[in-house]
């Protein structure tokens, strides 16, 4: 069984509704081809209730196709999708009552006002969210009477997130929800999503932003060429992909590489000019500094490089997360 995220476990202990520790999203052996192009090839993943699950990958990796199959916009060629036990193809009506979706690059009629759009979408659901609260939370209160066409990119994006949440879904699927937002609006949206999850909502997040995945996701799946190449917590992924920790310093006196290479924590020692870079694992910094001190050397200007999820992404996929171009 999957690692159960801490927040979901806490919510379950608190006896909150909607969180029973089961799978909210269950995808098994999903396969989808467009003509000869295999977009998704044998993807399986399971998202626990109350979890924030990230789907990362380069452009054209099959993230959006996976999500489109998950929400029933596309029928899989093979494999199954279950959302809270429901089949998005066969139980379409019920699935759409409990799954809120924010799609990439969808717009709304320019001449409708924000309030009119929200009011209409709200009427689609049996148990809709409180409109005032949602408008407030997404910072759209001042724009209620503004036409959609007059909104900025960030405001449109926030309205789109609001529409995904207005049905008070049990699962929210958000595809690049903070694309085009400025840093402040992005952080506000992250806070909102954490708040939504704390109410027990499961969140499936497709994102390019490694910072977003690190901040929000309990687990992430890294997809490349239609396959999951890694599935772990952001920290686990980072640790797994990084070549270990790195310490860089300027020694007060010369010393031989052997002094450090003998330590179990140290993997390699490199020198460039006066600086020394030591790569290794475990309690690397302590071990290096203690060994140097014992030899009468002081390490000055110590810098610790810890690799980020972004480094892990680049190492695992060989590409930068923002890089363009589809894979064949």
């Amino acid at each position: 069984m999957n690692h159960l995220p801490a927040a979901a476990a806490a919510a379950r202990e608190a006896g909150w509704p909607g969180v029973d520790g089961g799978s909210a999203v269950e995808i098994t052996h999903l396969r989808k081809a467009y003509g000869n192009v295999l977009a998704v090839d044998d993807v399986s993943l399971s998202v626990a209730e109350g979890e924030i699950f990230g789907i990362l990958g380069p452009n054209g990796a099959g993230k959006t196709t996976t999500v489109e199959c998950a929400i029933g916009l596309r029928a899989p060629d093979a494999g199954t999708v279950r959302l809270l036990g429901l089949d998005p193809q066969a139980d379409r009506d019920e699935v759409h009552q409990v799954v809120g979706v924010q799609l990439q690059a969808s717009v709304l009629p320019a001449k409708l006002r924000v309030g009119e759009i929200l009011d209409m979408y709200r009427s689609f659901y049996r148990h809709p969210a409180d409109m005032e609260e949602l408008i407030e939370a997404l910072g759209l209160a001042a724009k209620r009477r503004a036409c959609y066409g007059s909104l900025s990119g960030g405001q449109r994006q926030r309205l789109s997130v609001a529409l995904a949440l207005i049905g008070r879904p049990k699962i929210a699927v958000l595809d690049e929800m903070t694309a085009g937002l400025d840093p402040q609006a992005r952080r506000d949206t992250w806070n909102l999503i954490e708040g939504v999850r704390n109410r027990g909502v499961t969140i499936l997040l497709v994102t390019h932003f490694m910072e977003e995945a690190e901040r929000l996701c309990d687990r992430v799946a890294l997809i490349q060429s239609g396959r999951i190449v890694a599935l772990d917590t952001p920290a686990g992924l980072t640790a797994r992909a990084s070549g270990g920790k790195q310490v860089r310093f300027w020694p007060s006196a010369p010393f031989g590489d052997g002094l450090l290479l003998g330590l179990p924590e140290v993997g390699s020692v490199e020198r460039d000019g006066k600086h020394v870079t030591v790569t290794g694992s475990g309690e690397l910094v302590n071990a290096v500094i203690l060994a140097l001190a014992a030899a009468g050397v002081t390490a000055r200007d110590v810098q610790l490089d810890s690799s980020s999820l972004e480094d892990a992404f680049v190492r695992l996929t060989g590409r930068h997360p923002h890089q363009e171009g589809a894979l064949s």
């Binding site: 759409h96 979706v101 799609l103 969808s106 717009v107 709304l108 009629p109 409708l112 009119e116 659901y125």
Partner: protein, 257 residues
């Protein structure tokens, strides 16, 4: 999916359709192409033609009707056609182009409700356009009328001509394409309806072709009912045939994206 569940999924609150129609009505008011083309323009033409003395003389060539009498059903067909093939498909194509239909597919509401709501709006405009043309021409210029027959004939003309617009509405990927199709189809259709050359003056072959176009058949039915005559079977059958074929084509080829 069968028709019943497509039209009324049991999990969607009934008020949703009303809200969709309301928003479509707001859009039709804020971007009043349909209002201008389907109501305003036919009204202007009715008044203009009615004021021309030459149009008010009974003529032997028109079976002792005035030229204005012959033009009133053409203006009615003008109103229905421009709404059906131009004003209806453009918003639907733009919803397709902008991903609004796709977005709607992720909600409990079937996207067909948006199509239905657009139809409701354009049909309301068509009824408004026809009432305007007939009331103004009847009240101000004394065109002979037989109200009951005219209402029935108008309903037939609307039901027969609207499916023409369902095909571009079902297929056009962008609002631009829908608009070009509307423009390209509208002027030839208006020619066969008799806007430039009244149908009674068309040479034999042209008149025969016109009789079997949906717009010519609709004009014929409206003209006969205005004179209190029962229209012959041929235009009724032609119109019903077009309605059936175009409805089936639209249904068969409808695309959401």
């Amino acid at each position: 999916m069968n028709v019943t569940t497509a039209l009324a999924p049991k999990t969607v609150p009934g008020a949703a359709f009303g809200k969709i129609v309301l928003n479509e009505a707001r859009l039709a008011w804020r971007q009043p192409f349909g209002l201008a083309a389907g109501v305003g323009f036919p009204l202007v033409l009715t008044v203009t033609f009615g004021e021309l003395p030459k149009f008010r003389q009974p003529q032997a060539g028109f079976g002792w009707l005035t030229e204005f009498d012959v033009y009133v059903p053409v203006l009615a067909v003008f109103a229905i056609t421009i709404l059906a093939i131009w004003s209806l498909p453009v918003p639907l194509a733009s919803y397709r182009e902008q991903g609004i239909l796709r977005r709607l597919r992720t909600t409990p509401v079937p996207p067909s409700w948006l199509l239905a709501a657009q139809l409701v709006i354009q049909l309301c405009l068509a009824v408004t356009g026809l009432v305007t043309v007939f009331v103004v021409s009847g009240a101000a210029f004394g065109v002979p009328e037989s109200p009951g027959a005219l209402v029935a004939a108008s309903a037939l003309a609307i039901a027969g001509l609207f499916p023409l617009g369902l095909v571009p509405a079902a297929l056009a990927r962008t609002a631009g394409t829908a608009s070009v199709i509307g423009r390209l189809a509208f002027f030839p259709l208006m020619f066969f309806a008799g806007l430039w050359l009244p149908r009674p003056l068309m040479p034999g072959l042209l008149r025969d072709i016109s009789d079997y176009t949906p717009v010519g058949a609709a004009a014929e039915i409206l003209q006969d009912s205005m004179q209190g005559q029962l229209p012959p079977a041929a235009p009724l059958l032609a119109l019903a045939g077009y309605a059936l074929v175009f409805s089936l084509l639209a249904r068969r080829f409808f695309r959401w994206e």
